[in-house]
Amino acid sequence: MKYSYYPGCTLRTKAKELDDYARASAKALGFELEEIEDWQCCGGVYPLGTDEIANKLSCVRALNAAKEKGQELVTVCSACHHVMKRVNDDMRNVEDICTRANNYMELDEPYKGETDVLHFLEVLRDKVGFDELKKKVVNPLKGKKIGAYYGCLLLRPGKILAFDDPENPKIMEDFIRAVGAEPVIYPYRNECCGGYISLKEKDMAKSMCDKITESAEGFGADMLITACPLCMYNLNKSSVREIPVVYFTEILAEALGVKESCCKEEKEVQA
């Protein structure tokens, strides 16, 4: 199975490991992530104004590239996923945006939201299947108590992202179970980490992340997993707590036994 893949800018640089582990895991699970050519940054946040078109075009390009290949489009970064799905929803359901975007794009055939956007976790749940994943785990993370940190971007608005129940999600918990660890459910897992506010309002972000980590630790989590580089940054940077935060792809790679090979390649490249 081949998917079009949109890594996004942060996965190229600061969150390289999120990307590397994702690719290695995909390989181990028997599907391929085919990177879209010449993709451009999604912008990090979805432009909320109903009159914004230009800011959505980079996404439309990527979506259309996937359409032309007849593939579903997979993202790993929460932010890219959020922006991509919402732009796609606009192309499907908002006639005005669709028309105007297509006027800019001058495609052979107008893009009308034909591509399905999938988060890597959705691929695991809906395509691979967590039961299937469980069978492929060679290195179950036994005894680890892991808290899933969803944040906002994966879940909300629930109707458009249609990712999971925005108030009581379970996809990451199911994932944690599949890789052999024990999920810790804590109430702040879908609360905001502060997002981009941490650029100018460090204290605000810090107090938010404090609440999150405190709650997770209170319920007994040894570590947190996330799909978002910015959540990772905020949680790591701002929190007074010592709880480690890792990308979900890292524990996936570890459970599948491909983590070492990943790092090796990386080292080779660096060397």
Binding site: D165, I185, P187, S215
Partner: protein, 662 residues
């Protein structure tokens, strides 16, 4: 040529303020066939009706057009007036210049123009009207009540007391409904069981009332006065006649893990069970999904311990077919599913419960034997938070757009009862508005605040956050203080929206009763016919029609009973004369109409006809006007145009089209 009189109603200022009524009357005189036109303040008043009668006599009118409100409102009034004056009532047509014109248009010129056109269409139609005579049909003097809650029980008692046979069909093993699950009732704090149980007993003992519990309506055919209904009596696995209700079987049943429906799943029951101690009939049923005997073939303990030999594992569903003259729907409500509202942590914490669950917790026969305690650890709570409007007044698809009406009052009741019984428990209520219209209702709510010290905070709750220490952190708004509040609570109670019983849509479809987007049955008129469905012979009782509390439900149940009695008291009904009719000379005998008739009202016969001198036997469609309901499906299906509908004939409708497009 008809001699038509046109009567334009001002409806006070309802029509006259936007439609130049005099002009409409003036224009009417220019229409073919119109020999008289006038306008008057209130055409439906006695004086207005007298004007119509006078004109019929003086001008020898053969047809009448009343330009007024909707025909659904006063068509019957004007038809009766015409009949009294000696005119066939079906020579009256209404031009709806109120609901379809004056009330929705602002510009006088525009509205008047439209009113004139609507008048013209009605005149064009009346020109082609012919006198019609209704037929007669018989009335079966027996009523069916669907649903055995307080609404159904009350309606049944009232109808039975008037001397008519009544059958109640109840889906669950016992009558009693939601009210039997309640602990106390507002605004007088009566014990619910104390006032309900006597009614249940009375219903079961009444010689005119027959109760089918654990049964469902399966099929309905026929029409007002003459419905035929199939009732499925589900296999109870217990012989109703033999069982003595001793209860030993329930005690001995080894399968005790089925969630108790009656206690809202807060505890469990045995596989053979009666829902509650005062159940009527006091005969258990075997839940075949939970029963070990049915699952594995082994066990059979209940059969062994039953001294009466009432257990019957072989029992099968039974279909009973019965005829009824009237049907009352009393299917009640349930609380909505809270899966989509998990910001309140309902599925994440046992200590977040719905109000109906709290009723069970407070009830002596409930899962905690009436002690207020946390369901997670059995500890007594110190801080209780109530959240109002959970799923009510919600315009997105998570909840319901309407106000559930009962929540403000029962929350005040709960708060008061808790403060009364457990003075050391603090009670906080987060509300959007406190709605207390009703006799002694606001006084009741004020007592909760003033006498019992319940803390009411205006603002909604955003999230309920379970804490590692087992407490619940409630994050809400205090809009009057302009603060975000974080309140630690031991228990949170959600005033969950109510919705009509999910089965009601299926039932409405069987009854061809209209139903709205929220699954509430539609009344024939919101104000004037609030307990009748637009479908003749179907009456509405209780929450199936809209949210209401117990006093309102009982009042409506009585009203529905009176309407049903009014129908059953008649020996014969006049049938709608607007039925289909086939022109023998045009009929091809092709059977197309027969295929689309939903009532089986069309049959084919070989008949001799005289077609302009040619005598021959032809296969012809014959309409049974007692069965025909006048939908008109056949008229369009008929390729030769032989089939036509009286009162809505092809020529009449085409005349209307022409008048509008003129």
């Amino acid at each position: 040529m008809q001699r038509i009189g046109v009567f334009v109603c001002h409806c006070g200022s309802n029509i006259a303020a936007t439609v130049d009524v005099a002009k409409v009357a003036e224009m009417a005189l220019m229409e073919p066939g119109v020999v008289h036109a006038e306008d008057y303040q209130y055409m439906c008043s006695e004086a207005g009706q007298a004007k119509i009668a006078d004109a019929i006599h003086e001008k020898k009118l053969s047809g009448i057009v009343v330009c007024s409100c909707s025909p659904r409102m006063h068509e019957a009034t004007f038809r009766k007036a015409a009949e009294r004056a000696g005119l066939n009532p079906y020579m009256v047509e209404i031009a709806n210049i109120r609901e379809h014109c004056s009330w929705i248009h602002k510009d006088m010129e525009e509205a008047t123009k439209k009113a004139v056109i609507l008048m013209r269409a009605a005149v064009a139609k009346v020109n082609l009207n012919t006198p019609l005579k209704p037929g007669e049909s018989r009335v079966t003097k027996r009523a069916l009540i669907i649903g055995g809650g307080i609404a159904g029980i009350q309606t049944a008692l009232d109808i039975a007391d008037a001397g008519y046979e009544v059958d109640i069909v109840e889906k669950t093993p016992s009558i009693g409904g939601r009210m039997s699950q309640l602990d106390k009732t507002f605004p007088t704090l009566d014990c619910s069981a104390c006032i309900l149980t006597p009614k249940m007993v009375e219903a079961s003992a009444h010689e005119k009332i027959n109760i089918y519990t654990y049964s469902e309506v399966e099929k309905v055919s026929g029409f007002v006065g003459d419905f035929t209904v199939d009732i499925r009596k589900k296999a109870r696995s217990v012989d109703m006649d033999k069982c003595t209700g001793c209860g030993v079987c329930q005690e001995k049943c080894p399968s005790k893990k089925a969630p108790s429906e009656f206690n809202r799943g807060l505890n469990t029951r045995s596989a053979i069970y009666t829902p509650f101690a005062q159940a009527i009939p006091n005969v258990p049923v075997i839940d075949r999904e939970a029963c070990i005997k049915f699952k594995t073939g082994k066990c059979g303990i209940c059969s062994k311990v039953c001294q009466a030999g009432a257990i019957d594992y072989e029992q099968k569903d039974e279909i009973i077919t019965e005829k009824y003259g009237a049907i009352v729907v009393a299917t009640g409500f349930d609380t909505i599913n809270l899966d989509k509202y998990d910001e309140y942590a309902y599925s994440q914490s046992k200590d977040v419960i719905t109000s109906l669950e709290l009723e069970r917790v407070m009830n002596a026969a409930g899962p905690t034997h009436g002690h207020l305690e946390r369901l997670s650890d059995g500890k007594a709570p110190k801080e209780m938070v109530f959240i109002q409007c959970v799923g009510s007044r919600c315009s997105d698809d998570r909840g319901k757009p309407y106000c559930s009406k009962i929540c403000c009052m029962y929350t005040a009741k709960h708060a008061m009862l808790i403060r009364d019984k457990y003075p050391d428990v603090n009670v906080t209520v987060f509300y959007i508005d406190v709605r207390t219209p009703g006799k002694n209702f606001d006084e009741f709510y004020r007592r909760a605040v003033e006498q019992y010290g319940v803390n009411y905070i205006k603002g909604q709750v955003g999230k309920v956050i379970p804490q590692p220490n087992g407490k619940l952190l409630v994050q809400g708004s205090d809009l009057l203080d302009n603060k975000q509040i974080l309140k630690e609570a031991d228990m949170v109670v959600l005033a969950t929206a109510i919705e009509p019983n999910p089965d009601v849509r299926k039932i409405a479809t069987m009854l061809t009763a209209s139903i709205d987007t929220n699954n509430f049955l539609t009344e024939a008129h919101a104000k004037l016919r609030p307990v009748e469905s637009p479908t003749a012979g179907i009456f509405l009782s209780g929450v199936c029609q809209g949210p209401k509390d117990i006093p309102e439900t009982v009042a409506q149940a009585g009203a529905a009973a009176v309407k049903a009695i009014g129908l059953l008291a008649k020996d014969k009904l006049m049938t709608n004369p607007c039925t289909a009719h086939s022109d023998e000379l045009l009929c091809n005998g092709c059977s197309t109409c027969e295929n689309v008739c939903p009532y089986g009202a069309i049959t084919y016969e070989d008949k001799e006809v005289n077609d302009h001198g040619i005598r021959e036997v032809r296969r012809l469609a014959v309409v049974n006007s007692a069965l025909c309901q006048g939908c008109g499906a056949c008229t369009v299906a008929c390729p030769s145009g032989a089939m036509d509908l009286q009162g809505f004939s092809n020529r009449q409708i085409i005349a209307e089209v022409d008048a509008i497009c003129r």
